[in-house]
């Protein structure tokens, strides 16, 4: 007996909800965007928190399992996750201070050589500050779906090939030209270089990581020392398609040693501040220049989100010059 009123109320609610959804669907982007941002602001942090909890629990369980299976007393040698994150934070702070120290040392040596200018120099107007676009790495499942969809679609069916970029060889990002991405923009995580944008579709882009054989970048060595750090030789960082990078064009007259840090070069002018590439792990003499292997600071498999650096117009003009 109660079924008919409930069916009627269900249908009425469905009609009202359908009307609301249809009006939302037809509403302009300006109306949809704040709502979408609000929902993302509520849901995304929760999902990120759940993922981080999952990762830390998984690592803890794996570490305990490894300890159980090995049977050895490794409690003194294993590092707790909190200690590891603290160590990593200290290492980052140390790198930043070393870089600042190297810059100041450079300025001091110039001042000692040429003297300090009696007139304070005019500050150049700062170029427009670069902006950053956050992008998520597209997972294997989503990419497989996109590939599957793309394979069946042809030009005759109205598919514009620039709408979605699905390059099997490179990792994908979930932002494209709609978010202002362009090819050749640099991709970072924190103060470390991840790579650069290879190609851009409307809603996605492919990433060319620094380990890619096509990657080239001007790099500078910073040598850690007891007094801080000092700038060393410059060279060209080349991806090799393996886990190590190659630092080329560093003459044997320059001193390089294992443990030196490799940063982006100031002369490159792509970055507002020097960013970290990685650490020198092998140095061998090869004719007139060193054969240097660099281990990148970033492992692509560890990343879930990255930042794409968009240069301002004036900074872009400076780069073009």
């Amino acid at each position: 007996m109660r079924r008919a009123p409930r069916t009627r109320s269900t249908l009425l609610t469905a009609a009202a909800t359908l009307t609301a959804a249809a009006s939302l669907f037809l509403s302009p982007r300006g109306v949809q965007r704040p709502l979408r941002n609000a929902v993302l602001d509520v849901v995304a942090p929760g999902q990120a928190w759940a993922l981080s909890r999952y990762d830390s629990c998984r690592q803890l369980i794996l570490a305990r399992y490894a300890r159980l299976t090995s049977g050895a007393r490794t409690s003194s040698t294993t590092i707790a996750p909190e200690t590891e994150s603290r160590l990593s934070a200290l290492e980052q702070a140390c790198r930043r201070l070393r870089l600042e120290n190297a810059r100041l040392r450079d300025e001091l040596s110039l001042a000692e050589k040429y003297g300090v200018s009696p007139v304070p120099g005019n500050l150049q107007p700062l170029p427009e500050l670069p902006t950053v676009v956050r992008a998520a790495m597209i997972g294997a499942g989503a990419r497989a779906f996109a590939v599957e969809q793309l394979l069946g679609a042809g030009r005759g069916q109205g598919l514009a090939e620039s709408d979605v970029v699905v390059d099997e060889s490179g990792p994908c990002l979930d932002q494209g030209s709609e978010a202002g991405l362009e090819p050749e923009l640099d991709v970072l995580i924190g103060r470390c270089v991840v790579g650069r944008i290879a190609s851009v579709g409307r809603w996605s882009a492919t990433l060319e990581p620094i380990t890619d054989p096509r990657y080239r970048g001007l790099a500078q060595i910073v040598r850690p020392s007891d007094q801080g750090g000092s700038f060393g030789a410059e060279g060209i960082l080349i991806g090799q398609g393996s886990e190590l990078l190659k630092l080329a064009e560093v003459p044997t007259t320059q001193s390089v040693r294992v443990g030196d840090e490799v940063y982006t070069s100031d002369r490159d002018r792509r970055f507002p501040i020097p960013l970290y590439y990685g650490r020198v792990v092998r140095v061998e003499e090869a004719g007139r220049s060193w054969d240097i292997s660099v281990r990148p600071a970033v492992r692509l498999s560890d990343l879930k989100t990255v930042a794409v650096l968009k240069l301002g117009r004036r900074a872009g003009k400076m780069l073009a010059e």
Binding site: R3, T13, T17, A20, A21, L35, V39, W49
Partner: protein, 175 residues
């Protein structure tokens, strides 16, 4: 109480969906936690509550996935309305319930994939329907296990009370 459970399940499913994707990302046969609340809502609180809940879930998924909002919200609320009416008409048996969940989840998967294809400007391919069926099957198994565990837990106090009648007899048998 049922509404509270439904809301909690929706929230938990939304939070844990990326975790499931990361843990079982390599398998095609994995439950879609984002759509599982549809079946749970329709079974727990059929009627207007399920329609509004599923519409909101669709809107959240629209916000998470695509540039255009409203498509999933409309599809899911319509699906919930039809599901609620069907739930009221059928007997509350396990096979009927599982078949209902399977149908709802399969249609929701199809809708979701059609909306994704349309927003990317691509045609919908039949192979995607097979994947939708696989995903719906695994999600149905997941929801069934969840339902079974929930109903067992809710019956535990009643089972304990009914076992008290046998306590004197068990005591006498011991003597």
């Amino acid at each position: 109480m049922k509404l509270f459970f439904a809301v909690m399940l929706v929230l938990a499913a939304l939070l844990l969906a990326p975790v499931m994707d990361q843990a079982l990302g390599d398998f095609a046969f994995r439950p879609n936690l984002q759509l599982a609340p549809l079946a749970v809502c329709v079974s727990l609180c059929p009627g207007p509550a399920a329609v509004i809940g599923c519409g909101l879930l669709g809107l959240i998924l629209d916000c998470l996935a695509g540039p255009q909002l409203g498509a999933r919200a409309a599809g899911f609320c319509l699906l919930a309305a039809l599901g609620s009416i069907a739930v009221g008409r059928r007997a509350d048996s396990w096979p009927a319930r599982v078949a209902g969940w399977m149908t709802i989840l399969f249609v929701a998967e199809l809708l979701s994939r059609i909306v994704a294809s349309a927003s990317l400007g691509m045609p919908f391919r039949p192979a995607a329907a097979l994947n939708a069926a696989l995903s719906a099957t695994s999600t149905t198994i997941f929801v069934s296990c969840l339902w079974l565990a929930g109903s067992t837990l809710s019956r535990l106090p009643r089972l304990a009370r009914s076992n008290r009648r046998f306590a004197p007899a068990i005591g006498r048998a011991g003597n």
